[in-house]
Symmetry: C2
């Protein structure tokens, strides 16, 4: 026997409209009524037919989120915020992982269409402009700092400025041999952070030296540790390092300690992302803290605007805020 | 103009079957043919109609994964592995976050049905048996150690034994005041780890003391730090701590260092989960390392078996392996 909204309303002693509001996840329901409806829903075993509801609306009810790897804390944290923001608008989120390679990113973009999702949030690392589908298929929002010159919505922090801020902070402490870890020409994010590193050096009157810029294909902790060991083996080692993400920085912290050197006395370290772990490392990590919640909400908001009619609005380029979070790895 | 598989095959100079194999993600395609097909797919702009394909198969093409919080590294890592394992079987994964509360877990379970997903992997923290839907709606696999006595498939490590192993390791180092951090009666995982803690003490001939068991509502780093400070303020503080997850342990490490004490000389610490960060903390963290990939693959395999016909098989209870990963926080 199929349970109807009316059955639930009768049992709960509220209107059908109230039951409908609870089932549809709207916020404006009195807590007491919500509780009674939820109990009645559980008692009757009512199940909304989400598929039918979305069909009526001409929606799938899904958004896609494309990220390199969920096991990278930045993406785990960001995905959690995106899911929460999407849920408020009635969307469930499909997550696709690309490992940051162009071929996987292209495949994923290519697989997304209006039959599958209502829109997609993509965090590319290697895509080029030619890889993007023609506009209009589904609303697409690009997240993060990878620079692709395509007319689609984009939400990110000012990444060059953020990197420059990190380097200026190190220079302000009197450090003169400031290294960088994270160079990878295949990743757009890396190019932007490198540009900010160079302009930070310039602004401080320090010269750029290739030997102080360590490559990192993957931005993982073990890679940061290996890069730091190489830098410390230079005839004239650095007295400070700007790492292009927190994982590289955590690896660098570990490598400095293993060599019996001190952070920040011998080497000051700044990361990027403000992963939760960075407030608890020993020493805690100074880092660029993007406002991840603002980023997630701006992106969901853009998809929602596109779907609800603003299809002809020119592509938006939204900058969300960041801050320099100063902790023990530079302050001591 | 609609591009067909035949158009792609002609351009690539391969058979329609080969194009179909690439589009469907099958593994047995020669690399050279795969490359040619992918180029032809990109050039023609061909898009498979995944929705229609799944309709033919009587599938939605989606699995749901329900976890407390993606920003907790264990769940970020696990979700990444589940997505990878699901993709090999042609599924995309929807992720739902519950914060580990019974009401959100119940709502999520309740919202899942055959109109939405082909199956679901759920990692409950607070659900009770009465919350589970009647079997047969969609294949459901329970992940993790929360003990709910319902006849559905379950994949987990032997959690009591794992906790006991951690405590026995601390006892084997000669520690006699072994504390625990993570008690939370509302979470099944906590009850199991507490049981293992008690049996580990017993096995070592140590007596149980309530004052050495610190509660933790959320298993976050800040909570672990606060709990450690309370334990160290006892008239007779512990010389070792078993933390119910790595985040609590990382917080505990930090609290010990802030008080000027040493790990492991003054306090030895063991965590649980083997988050990637635990190999890089200072000191690195001894921890219980569940085989997360085995867990993800076993769960996806079970859903697949249920969908492809083994509907009448009794509920499976699969134990995946774990290991004690001994690092500096106990070894020095």
């Amino acid at each position: 026997m199929t349970v109807t909204l009316k059955d639930v309303a009768t049992l709960a002693g509220v209107s059908v409209k109230t039951v409908s509001n609870v089932v549809n996840g709207y916020a404006f329901v009195k807590p007491e009524n919500r509780r009674r409806v939820e109990e009645a829903l559980a008692a009757t075993g009512y199940r909304p037919n989400v598929g039918a509801r979305n069909l009526r609306r001409g929606r799938t009810g899904f958004l896609a989120l494309m990220v390199p790897e969920l096991s990278i804390p930045y993406f785990g944290e960001l995905a959690g915020l995106v899911i929460t923001a999407a849920q408020k608008r009635g969307w469930s989120v499909l997550i696709e992982q690309t490992q940051g390679t162009r071929s996987r990113e292209r495949e994923t973009l290519f697989s997304l269409g209006p039959h599958l999702v209502d829109g997609a949030l993509v965090h590319p690392e290697a895509l080029e402009a030619a890889d993007f589908p023609s506009p209009g298929e589904i609303p697409l929002v690009m997240l993060g700092e990878h620079a692709v010159d395509v007319p689609i919505d984009h939400v990110a922090i000012d990444n060059v400025l953020a990197a420059q801020t990190a380097v200026s902070h190190l220079a302000s402490l009197g450090r003169t041999r400031i290294a960088a870890i994270g160079r990878n020409p295949a990743r757009g994010t890396s190019s932007q952070r490198l540009a900010g590193y160079r302009s930070g050096l310039s602004a401080a009157g320090l010269s750029y030296s290739d030997e102080l810029v360590a490559p990192a294909e993957k931005w993982h902790r073990s890679v940061g540790a290996a890069a730091m060991r190489s830098l410390l083996a230079l005839p004239s080692p650095p007295d400070a390092v700007f790492c292009f993400n927190d994982l590289l920085a955590i690896g660098a912290l570990r490598a400095v300690a293993e060599l019996g050197l001190r952070v920040p006395e011998d080497v000051a370290i700044v990361g990027f992302d403000n992963n939760e772990e960075s407030a608890f490392s020993l020493p805690s990590l100074t880092t660029i803290a993007p406002d991840k919640m603002a980023l997630a909400e701006a992106a969901i908001d853009l998809v929602h605007r596109r779907i609800t009619g603003e299809k002809t609005l020119p592509a938006q380029d939204i900058q969300t805020p960041f801050a320099l979070e100063i902790r023990e790895s530079t302050r001591g």
